[in-house]
Every structure is written in structure tokens, then in C-alpha cells.
């Protein structure tokens, strides 16, 4: 399974993340999940997100998450 999706599933089990373009608008993630997601990504990929990066827009779908990870030099397994 897509690594990012499996991380998302650990934070919110039972939600469908694959076909959703905006997790926050669709209510599959909320602002508290965002902090948990940032922490999970940081420990999984040994990266450090700066405070201005921790905004919903950077994490609203799988592509956005991969883009912010790529900025930190990480390419998660598909």
C-alpha cells in the first residue's frame, strides 16, 4: 500500500484516503489530526517541518503531502 496512505490510516483508521482531494473539507481529517500527521511523518522520514509549513493546505491530499515531503528531500514508497 502507498506509504503515506498507511500513515494516514494509522492516524484515522477506517477512513478512505485514496480518492479524496481534500481531507479537511471532507472531514476525514481535522486540525488535531494535522498535528498527529506532522509528528508521524517527521518520525517516519526523519524530517523537521517548520512552523509555517504546518498548515492544512500542505496536507489536504496525498499529492500535497508528497510534495511537502519532496521539499524535504523525501520520496515515500508508492
Amino acid at each position: 500500500m502507498d506509504e503515506v496512505i498507511s500513515i494516514l490510516n494509522e492516524i484515522r483508521p477506517g477512513q478512505d484516503f485514496s480518492g479524496t482531494d481534500d481531507f479537511f473539507a471532507r472531514g476525514v481529517l481535522d486540525s488535531l489530526d494535522l498535528t498527529a500527521l506532522v509528528s508521524a511523518l517527521e518520525s517516519r522520514y526523519s524530517v523537521f517541518m517548520d512552523v509555517e509549513e504546518i498548515v492544512p493546505d500542505n496536507f489536504r491530499n496525498v499529492e500535497k503531502i508528497k510534495a511537502i515531503l519532496a521539499k524535504h528531500g523525501v520520496n515515500p514508497a508508492a
Binding site: L32, T35, A36, S39, S43, V51, I54
Partner: protein, 565 residues
Amino acid sequence: MKAVSSDTASKPLRRVLLVGDTTLDPLGRLLERGSDAPSAICSAAPYGQIYQILLDGNHPAWSFQPDCLVAWTAPQFTLPSVGKLMRFEPATHEDALREAEQFADAVLQASHRVGLVLVPTWTLPSHERWIQTLTWRPGVGLANVIARANLVLAEKLAGRSNVVLLDTSFWQASLSRPAHDPRMYAVAKILYSQPFFEKAAAEMKSVMRGMLGQTKKVVVCDLDNTLWGGVVGDDGADAIKLGAPDPVGECFQAFQSALKGLRSRGVLLTICSKNDEQYALSVIEDHPAMVLRKNDFVGWRINWDDKAGNLMALAEELNLGLDSFVFLDDSPQERDQVRQMLPQVYTPDLPVSPSELAPFVLSLNCFETPGLGREDLERTDMYQAERGRKESLDLSGDVEAWLRSLQIQVRAVPLRHENLARATQLLNKTNQFNLSLRRLDEKSFWDWAAEPGNAAYVFHVSDRFGDFGLTGLASLSMQGTEARIVDFVMSCRVMGKRVEEALLGYTVGRAKAAGADCVQAPPVEGPRNAPAREFFATKFAAAGGPAIDPERVGVPSLVSVREEN
């Protein structure tokens, strides 16, 4: 009264109210979504309203009807003087300690509204260096005042058995990442890092399990490459790695010391090993570096049979459920077999490095307990005495004569403050000989017994081999001339000795003395309480009960019952 019905007794649900001065919602999420027992639903009150919520039972936060309260505050916010000292503004230690007392008083007041209160101790943010030269100086330093404020909490809260102070400095020390996350504080007023919340949630769940009596009781150890390095059958006793000067031997000895600590606090140690029994036991007795000796173990299966079967045999021998077992074995194959065959046994992966074995066992959070009583500290000795009893039966073969030779004595005592902790532990931990599987915390049980018409008794059992301790409990509820046995609980340690006959005889006698002409004992069906239900089935006037036939009840002549008022 906070009783849980029998079908949820094994999986109780905690309603947890989180109160703090920063955002605690991430903790609530973790408590709710974590798979470890007990299940929880949480409500995080709006932060910064600590005193309003703790002091006012009509605050909307209480409409959630919690049975557990978490009051987690940061010293720099809840103790304004600490905040000032941190910023080098004028404030005294005395001011800060008065504020700590005020907080403790508010917690005490709120503790009457819930079954359990968890209060994490105060710690400074991990990046707060302050002035290291001065920080422990009395009357001046920040570390000094935080330590004293925590002691104020510890001393003031100790008076209430349902308030537990949690050691956040241990949580912090056990993490490899910082406990505080300034980014999340800026984003959402979340003071603590996600790993810190994860640690907090795990520890809180552990304490909740301990308070509910859901604790592990038995550790099963393998021998080769677990208690010592090497394979004794192949290498010989002289070649196994155990003790100084070999560093690997030191590690295995440290592991044994850690296990010995568990034994001393009431966890039962057993062995399950593929070895020659006589040879392995001789190594345990004679090897100069062994910390654990034969009399530290209450049972063993040292043979070539499969380990799952051996664990089942040990459970039967000790009369304890496999869900109270922890299995420690270096072999992934053996662990896998036990996990598949006996999923109720807790089978953690053991660290591969011997140096990690002792820290691993010392950090296990499955042995949590609300108290350490005489029954805990002497448990292994009690089981040793039980071995003596069984051996004396094997010699004689005549059960009736053997029971008489035991000279069993029962001391019946009303429920009192000094026996309440052990009585509640027995009520909550006993699964097999338990009529109604009622689970209550100390306060609820005490309050229930104090209601008019209700009474509770505890029973101390002993015989010529030793003292079993407080191992029985019965409670009665009277309505007119009808008495109901609400709880009837007996430890598995005294099963099979006609003690249950004596306890029931005494209990029915008390009901009659209180004016009852009919005694009922409605059984509640649980997954494992068949022993109690089968016993009562032989006592009912009509099949299925619940009325007891007084003709079938009486104290057997081989048990003597002494009453203490």
C-alpha cells in the same frame, strides 16, 4: 454507584474528562483510538478553566458524566508564581507553594465526583535551562520550587485512594524525542509533543487497568538464552554465560535481578523450557551466579513438549487464567506458536541484545497495581505452601482426611477501612469464583456497604501450612425479611478445600441473624465464573435459583470459622 454489567466487566469503558491549561485533545484521541484496554471515550474541556471545572460540579464540563478525570496542568500557567520566577519577575517560593496547595485542594474537591483522578506531576519544558548554577537553590531556584510543589501535591493528594499522581519526569526520561513542541503550541496551544502524549496515554491506560485489577500475575520464562546465555544442555553448566566477569553474563544476571524484583512484589515466576528437567533444576540450584533459585519459582514445565500445552498446564496448576500470563522467550518461533495458540497470553518480543533484557522487563507496564499489600509481597511463599499441601495430598490420597489434616481456619471480619483496598482488589480481580462479577472502585464499594440494609464481610483463611491472607468476600443486601447475596467472591488460592461451604454457611447465618427468612443468590453468567455458578447450583432450592435451600448450607466440620467484630 458505578457498577459495570458482567458482559462489559472484562472490557470496561472509561469516560474520561480532560481538564488542563493547554490543549489536551491529542491525548483524548490517543486514549480513544488506542487498542489497549480499557476502552475510553474522552471529553476535553476548553482549556484554561481548571478552577471553574474542578470546583463547580454544575460546570457544563461535568454533563459528560465522566468516571475518570485527568487534570494535567503546566506549572508555569497554573502556578502563576512559577511563571513569574521563570521570567525572573518578582515572586516567592512560598507564593508558588500556596498556589500548589490551592490546586491540590481543588483536585481533592473534584475527586468526590469521579471514581478515578489522574494528575500528571509538574515538569518544566525540556528546553527550559534557566540558570543551572541556581536552579536547585532553596528559596531561589526554579527546579527547587517545582520539586517542592510536586511534593505538596503528593502529600495532599495521598489522602484519597482514587487520586493518582503520575510521574511525568519518568515519561520524559523514557523518550528519545523532546516532550515539548513549541511549533504545536504556536499552531494549536498544544504544549506537548505527540510522542509525549503517546507515552502519557499508554501510562494512563496502564494505571486504569491496575485500578480495575486487570494486571498480569504470572511471568513464564524460558531458560536457554533467556535466563542465561547459551544452551545448557549442549554447552554444560560451566560454559553458560551468567554473571561477572563476562559482560554478557552480567546482562543475564541483571535480567534475573529484575525478575526477582517482580517476584518480591507479588508477580509469580514460572519456567517453561525445552530441557532435561533434573539437569536444568540442578543448574538453577547450584550455579554460583544464579540470582533466581528453585524456590523463586511457583511452578515449571521443563520438558520437550510444546510450550502452548505447557502454559495451559501451568495455568491449571496455579488455578489462574492464561490472560494473566506473560511469556518471555528468546525464540521467535516459540513466541509465534504461543501467540497463535494462546492469544490471551501477553507475548512481547524480547530485545535481541542481552543488555536490553533488564531494562525491558523493568519498563513493562502490565503489572500495575493500586497498592502493595501483604498478600502481594508474600504471594510466592503462599504458592510454595500450596505445593507442600498438594504433595501431602499425594502421599495420603484420602481427600477428606487430607483436608482435615490441613486444619483450615477462617476469620470473618466486617468490611473496614483497613481491609477495603485488598477487598476491592479481590472483588475486581477475581473471575472464577465470583457470583455476580460486580466491579466497583473502593469508594463505590464502601458507599454501597454503608447503605442501610447492606453489609459486607471479608474472610482471612489459613491452615497449618501457612496463611492465605484475605481471600474471600461476601456482601448482603436486606429488604424486609428477604436477603440477597450480592457479592460472593473467593480467591482461586483456596478453591477445592470446602472453604466456600464455610463462607456461604457463615454468610447465610448472618442473613438469618439479621431477620431473613429467605436468602437469594442470583448468579450472573460471565465467561469464566462457572466454578461459582456450579457451586451455587448445588445450593438452590429449585434448579436455576435464586433462592437458597438452607438445608444444603452449613459450615463443614473440617473448617473452623471465627468471627471478629
